[in-house]
């Protein structure tokens, strides 16, 4: 009797052990991202290559468009069923991992992920309370991207200073007509472009980069808002009001008919998305040029918002964190992966991948110029640090409402400034 029971127990133990071995070798990890078709197609190819090189690890792709991605991820987070690897925006860190406990600390996988591939400043942006919350993918910054056509037609050079921008606006309107503007700011650009000027003038950011509070004084904010009104009134920017009348203030530039018809001379765009601005232009990328960054003489900062585009984070609930780390390393640092992905997953932050793309000319020339401009500004110490809270949806909502009211003449810069500061501080104190 004893023997039979022992035999049964041994058989059971052996079976369990065998299953465990099998599980240790065979891991299925889930990878979630948002993006367009090109990104999806290229990522699926990289997944296939990774699986061939790592038999025993299966990667399940969970991809969608941007709309609804954060909502789905948040719901999964709430239920503890988030994917093993997630593409997330840096701005979401305060929400998902306020104290650095939301994701696995990437530092613990330093033997699997080549962290020395990434600039320290970039890793610092992704570190919360000493815990590395993800692997950064490319820096992105705002720059002035132009459609050559209207500038050539009007015979005006790209502006280098704000005064030259106002002069260009005047000339373009006179020579080509009222529907012609030097710049389309897009939704967030409307406040970012004028903030760039205010930061160049005062060398202070709207929100303190080190602590969640407004850093600008009331007079500085009022001046920022006055400059925005001047940009709109002097025809230098397509106004929020005009954009709304055209079918939506938040529509991307490339979908606006006046951009397609070459009536808008440029856009204040992130370098990481500049190629998408050419999607609807008949001349494609050849029609676009990166202009000089518009500056005030003697400015100590360019005031452009530059930060990590997005990051790959690993779930702290992952049952196969090492397999996940291996995959993240492959995706973010491997040269073969870079050749497949190109720039469809933004400009890589990894040195090896960047070298592959530039040396083998796998990157469009204009992209190289744009990213090069941001890098150059950064090297000169002209790129300021932005608070992670600046891009919080509630702060963005507040800024957009304020600028919309200004555009519709429902308020004045002097009235709006104290309100903006008070409300921003109220939101920041709650975050």
């Amino acid at each position: 009797m004893f023997k039979r029971k022992t035999l049964a127990a041994l058989t059971f133990t052996a079976l369990v052990s065998l299953t465990s071995v099998a599980l240790a070798e065979d891991a299925t990890i889930r990878f979630a991202w948002w993006g367009n078709e090109a990104r999806a197609a290229n990522t699926l190819k990289v997944i296939k290559l990774f699986e061939e090189k790592n038999p025993g690890i299966k990667v399940k792709a969970e991809y969608s468009g941007y709309d609804g991605y954060q909502t789905r991820l948040s719901t999964q987070f709430a239920g503890g069923t988030e994917p093993d690897i997630m593409q997330i925006l840096l701005a979401w860190l305060p929400m998902f991992s306020k104290n650095g406990d939301g994701f696995s600390d990437i530092n613990q996988f330093s033997s699997l992920i080549k962290l020395d591939e990434f600039p320290k400043s970039t890793l610092d942006q992704v570190t919360v309370n000493g815990k590395l919350q993800g692997v950064p993918i490319g820096s992105t910054g705002f720059l002035f991207l132009y459609n050559k056509e209207p500038w050539q037609k009007a015979g005006i050079p790209y502006p280098k200073t704000w005064d030259e921008l106002f002069e260009a606006a005047k000339l373009m309107q006179e020579k080509l007509g009222d529907e012609y503007y030097p710049l389309d700011p897009t939704t967030q650009g409307s406040f970012l472009i004028s903030l760039s000027w205010a930061m160049q003038k005062y060398n202070v950011n709207f929100i303190d980069a080190n602590e969640p509070k407004v850093a600008m004084s009331e007079e500085q904010v009022a001046d920022w808002l006055r400059f925005f009104k001047k940009l709109e009134n002097d025809h230098a920017l397509v106004s929020i009001k005009a954009r709304t009348a055209m079918g939506g203030a938040s529509k991307p530039t490339s979908q606006m008919p006046d951009w397609v018809e070459g009536k808008w001379g440029g856009v204040y765009s992130q370098d990481s998305t500049l190629t998408s601005r050419a999607d609807t232009l008949t001349g494609g990328l050849n029609q676009l040029e990166v202009g000089p960054y518009i500056m005030l003489p003697d400015a100590k900062t360019a005031g452009t918002m530059s930060r990590t585009g997005f990051i790959y984070s690993i779930s702290k609930h992952s049952e196969a964190p090492e397999a996940a780390a291996k995959f993240v390393n492959f995706l973010a640092t491997d040269p073969e992966a870079a050749r497949i992905i190109g720039t469809s997953r933004a400009i890589p932050a990894s040195k090896t991948q960047w070298d592959v793309l530039t040396k083998e000319q796998l990157i469009p020339k204009i992209q190289e110029i744009g990213t090069g401009q941001i890098m150059e500004l950064d090297e000169k110490g002209l790129v300021p640090r932005f608070s992670l809270y600046f891009e919080h949806p509630l702060i963005y909502k507040l800024l957009f409402n304020t600028f919309e009211e200004l555009s519709f003449d429902k308020t004045t810069p002097e009235e709006a400034a104290p309100k903006l500061i008070k409300e921003a501080n109220r939101i920041l104190s709650r975050l």
């Binding site: 709430a78 929400m95 709304t244 009348a245 079918g247 509630l394 919309e404 519709f408």
Partner: protein, 295 residues
């Protein structure tokens, strides 16, 4: 007998489970969550009536969205009912090819709630859209339909009024149910068309008017697709309906507790209005056969 009952319950079990899991549970959970601060990630924190207090005393946007929603319902419900009844009346005539017209007038309702129609509407009313092109041909300056606090809501009103088909079909059925003998009697008594409509048709279709009114009010208070797609709630919140506010709070800013509280306020508002309508119905809704039953 007992066996067949059990079998019956078994057949309806999937439906009951579905209702419990996907309707009743979220319904009850949202009520409980409305007394919490729940940012989705992390556990909800009980805060008592704070969400409701904030809404009433410290949230201008709540009052703005409430005003927009109520004003919209006040305009759209009568407009849609009037148009639906008028078209139903016309389609009730025995005309050649009437079935084609009935189908044609119902078509917008099938299409109307869709995202595609909202996108089309946006194109029609934008600065260089078809509406302004037509106005231009008759010498009227372009109107900034989507960029004007005054006009933006009217584009949504127009779309909603255009979707009168469902109410129209019900009105049409009701009109066909009015006994011909009553019209004949009225005609013999010398009643004009308007008098017949006022004294015969209207009283006899009041149950259907009542039904349509309740349904349209419920729909209007939950309007989401059109303002979300066409005007994005703007400009300056002039088309910021309660449903959009709830959506933004829940899925943009992840204030699930506050969004739940807003949902319950909207729910009580709809229930209260429906309650008042039901109470008032005994004064103006005529159910045929009621008097006979009373006797």
């Amino acid at each position: 007998m007992y066996e067949s009952k059990r079998l019956g319950y078994l057949f309806v079990l999937p439906f009951i489970l579905g209702i419990l899991a996907f309707n009743l549970f979220p319904f009850a959970a949202s009520f409980a969550l409305s007394f919490t601060d729940y940012p989705l990630i992390g556990a909800p924190t009980y805060i008592g009536l704070e969400n409701y207090e904030k809404m009433v005393f410290d949230d201008d946007l709540f009052w703005k969205s409430l005003t927009v929603t109520v004003s919209f319902a006040v305009i759209v419900v009568p407009a849609r009912l009037a148009v639906a009844l008028f078209i139903a009346q016309v389609l009730n005539f025995k005309l050649r090819g009437i079935n084609f017209f009935r189908a044609a007038y119902y078509l917008p309702t099938i299409l109307g709630g869709s995202i595609a129609i909202s996108v089309l509407w946006k194109f029609l009313f934008q600065q260089k859209g078809l509406v302004n092109i037509i106005l231009d041909t008759v010498g009227i300056d372009p109107i900034p339909w989507l960029a004007s606090e005054r006009y933006a809501v009217w584009t949504i009103v127009a779309l909603n009024t255009w979707q009168f088909g469902a109410a129209m079909v019900i009105f049409l059925a009701a009109l066909q149910g009015v006994p011909k003998s009553l019209y004949e009697a009225a005609e013999i008594d010398g009643a004009s068309f308007w008098q017949q409509f006022r004294n015969v048709t209207l009283p006899l279709i009041t149950p259907v008017i009542f039904f349509n009114m309740v349904m349209q009010i419920v729909n209007c208070f939950q309007e989401f697709n059109a303002p979300y797609m066409i005007t994005e709630g703007g400009p300056l919140y002039s088309t910021y309906f309660m449903a959009i506010y709830i959506y933004d709070e829940a899925f943009k800013y992840f204030n699930m507790g506050y969004a739940s509280a807003l949902s319950w306020v909207l729910f009580f508002l709809i229930v209260s209005i429906a309650g008042v309508l039901f109470w008032s119905s005994k004064y103006w809704v005529f159910y045929s056969g009621e008097k006979e039953r009373a006797r």
